[in-house]
Amino acid sequence: MSLQQISFTDKKDTRSGFGAGIYEAGKANPNVVALCADLVGSLKLEKFIEDFPDRFVQTGVAEANMIGIAAGLTIGGKIPVATTFANFGTGRVYDQIRQSVAYSGKNVKICCSHAGLTLGEDGATHQILEDIGLMKMLPGMTVVVPCDYNQTRLATKAIIERNGPTYLRFGRPVWPIFTQPEDAAFEIGKAQFLSEGSDVTIIACGHLVWHAVLAGQELEKRGISVELINMHTIKPLDTEAILRSVKKTQCVVTAEEHQMNGGLGESVAGVLAQHHLAPLEMVAVHDTFGESGTPAELLEKYGLMPKDIIAAVEKVLERK
């Protein structure tokens, strides 16, 4: 399995993958109820609302109330899918999620778009880079960060079928599609190996998986054997997959569109520190807020490009 075989077929936004996924889930299961806080177009809910108007709850710009309503809807067997931008669906309503959803053990799906820097021009007020950390700390919360349109569609359907409170994180920009539309191997909680290699393990999530593919392709050309893991489920973390890979490569680079504090890299660091010490480099945002700009400009400025992953690999190989 070489990274050279991976190429993208098309480009679409991951949020459209969510829109397609929730529509299919809603068609298959009459208990699926969508909620949105005044961002229907951004969340790609139009088709769901058109076909299932009775199963859509428009809460207006009132995210706290939306989370509470979602918790209540589960009583009576509904599967509520609460949607908004990632900043407003996590940080803004953290206590509501903590008490009414997580501690209460409610089967609520919190599905959020516009996560990370790549929402772009709206700037740091909207660019949440702390949401993975916030959500993964809540006991019992599943956290899923799919990498492209196809995987977001599959992940949406999978989390709805699976019982338990869940956070699904996706984004705004069009992004290369490089996974299969009906990937039978996709499973919540199971890491996806995009390549097998022996020199370095790269573990990425979300948009940064594609950058890791590009980085890996370049590294392979230089004769470095890369094992690339798409860690679409941050929690529960596939610890076994990480250890299996690192015991072979003895070093790891993580890549994510999130703060280093609280992110995927930190989860991986915990696994390494507890079970198998190995050098780790983290490609992430380092304790700073974002700003306005195009997604490409922001990824460049904040060090989340393929070249940054390559530099991290070079550094981690030196530390081996």
């Binding site: 109820v33 009775d54 199963r55 709850v57 809460t59 207006g60 009132a62 706290a64 109330n65 939306m66 989370i67 509470g68 309503i69 979602a70 918790a71 209540g72 809807l73 589960t74 009583i75 009576g76 067997g77 509904k78 509520p80 206590d95 509501q96 903590r98 008490q99 009414s100 501690y103 209460s104 053990g105 409610k106």
Partner: protein, 279 residues
């Protein structure tokens, strides 16, 4: 149940509350005592319920407590009604208990449908349960109790706006209007202003009652059900006295979150007759 029978239950519930809070040396007796008639009426007369607890409560009336700190009255009434053994009341606030300081589903206590304690969230949850009932074509009601100080939390007003705008008319909210909160009277801390006018302006059907008069509580809760399902959510502004039934706990906000000592317990119990037997 006859009014006299309901009053006997309420008297025993008051003893339970004081004894529970005394034993754990912590808890919130004031609001719990003030809401005793309300809980007794709801669970022993008004609501259609199944004490063989099922979370989904299909075909049942549901109740959500938003001001979770008055948990002693909730636990006592649930136990006295048969959701669980009254002996378990002695574990309130102790380690390994299902009777947590604030109610939770986490320990699997029958009768609890959501955690509450961090204020302002219960009404939203009750709205969600009301919508779920409508989707399931389940014609039973959803009841919710909030504190008055709790209405200072902004989320309530999101919920109040939503319930009226979306015609959540199978919802009956009661506000424990005792004018007391931790730091003083609601007027001193942050005046709620014209509460009745506010609910009316938001588009709710507004009723008022004296929450410490059993006949009035039964009458008004029945009236609320008749006013419901006509396009508007219903709110009952329930005037209560914090600490009602124990003289030294009345007329002050001091007993919001304080436990009586041994001497104070005896003084309280002397005013509260044993009617159903202590747990």
């Amino acid at each position: 149940m006859q009014i006299e029978e309901l009053k006997k239950v309420a008297a025993q519930v008051r003893r339970d509350i004081v004894r529970m809070v005394h034993k754990s040396k912590s808890g919130h007796p004031g609001g719990a005592l003030g809401c005793t008639e309300f809980f007794t009426a709801l669970y022993f007369e008004i609501m259609k319920i199944d004490t063989n607890f099922k979370m989904d409560g299909i075909g049942e009336d549901l109740f959500f407590l938003s001001n979770g700190h008055i948990s002693p009255v909730f636990y006592s009434v649930l136990a006295r009604r048969g959701y669980f053994d009254v002996k378990e009341l002695s574990t309130f606030r102790h380690i390994n208990s299902r009777l947590q300081g604030h109610p939770t589903t986490h320990e699997g206590l029958p009768g609890i449908r959501v955690a509450s304690g961090s204020l302002g969230q219960g009404m939203s949850v009750a709205i969600g349960a009301s919508l779920s009932k409508k989707l399931n074509k389940d014609d039973r009601f959803v009841f919710c109790l909030t504190g008055d100080g709790e209405l200072q939390e902004g989320q309530n007003w999101e919920a109040i706006m939503f319930a009226a705008a979306k015609k959540v008319d199978n919802l009956i909210v009661t506000v424990d209007w005792n004018h007391c909160q931790i730091d003083g009277t609601t007027e001193q801390v942050l005046d709620l202003g014209d509460l009745k006018g506010k609910f009316k302006a938001f588009g709710w059907e507004v009723l008022e009652m004296n929450g410490n008069v059993m006949d009035d509580v039964i009458f008004t809760l029945t009236e609320a059900q008749l006013k419901a399902k006509k396009g508007k959510p219903v709110v009952i502004l329930m005037r209560t006295e914090m600490g009602f039934g124990v003289d030294y706990m009345m007329g002050t906000h001091k007993w919001h979150g304080n436990a009586p000592n041994d001497e104070q317990l005896e003084k309280a119990l002397a005013q509260l007759p044993v009617t159903l037997g202590d747990y």
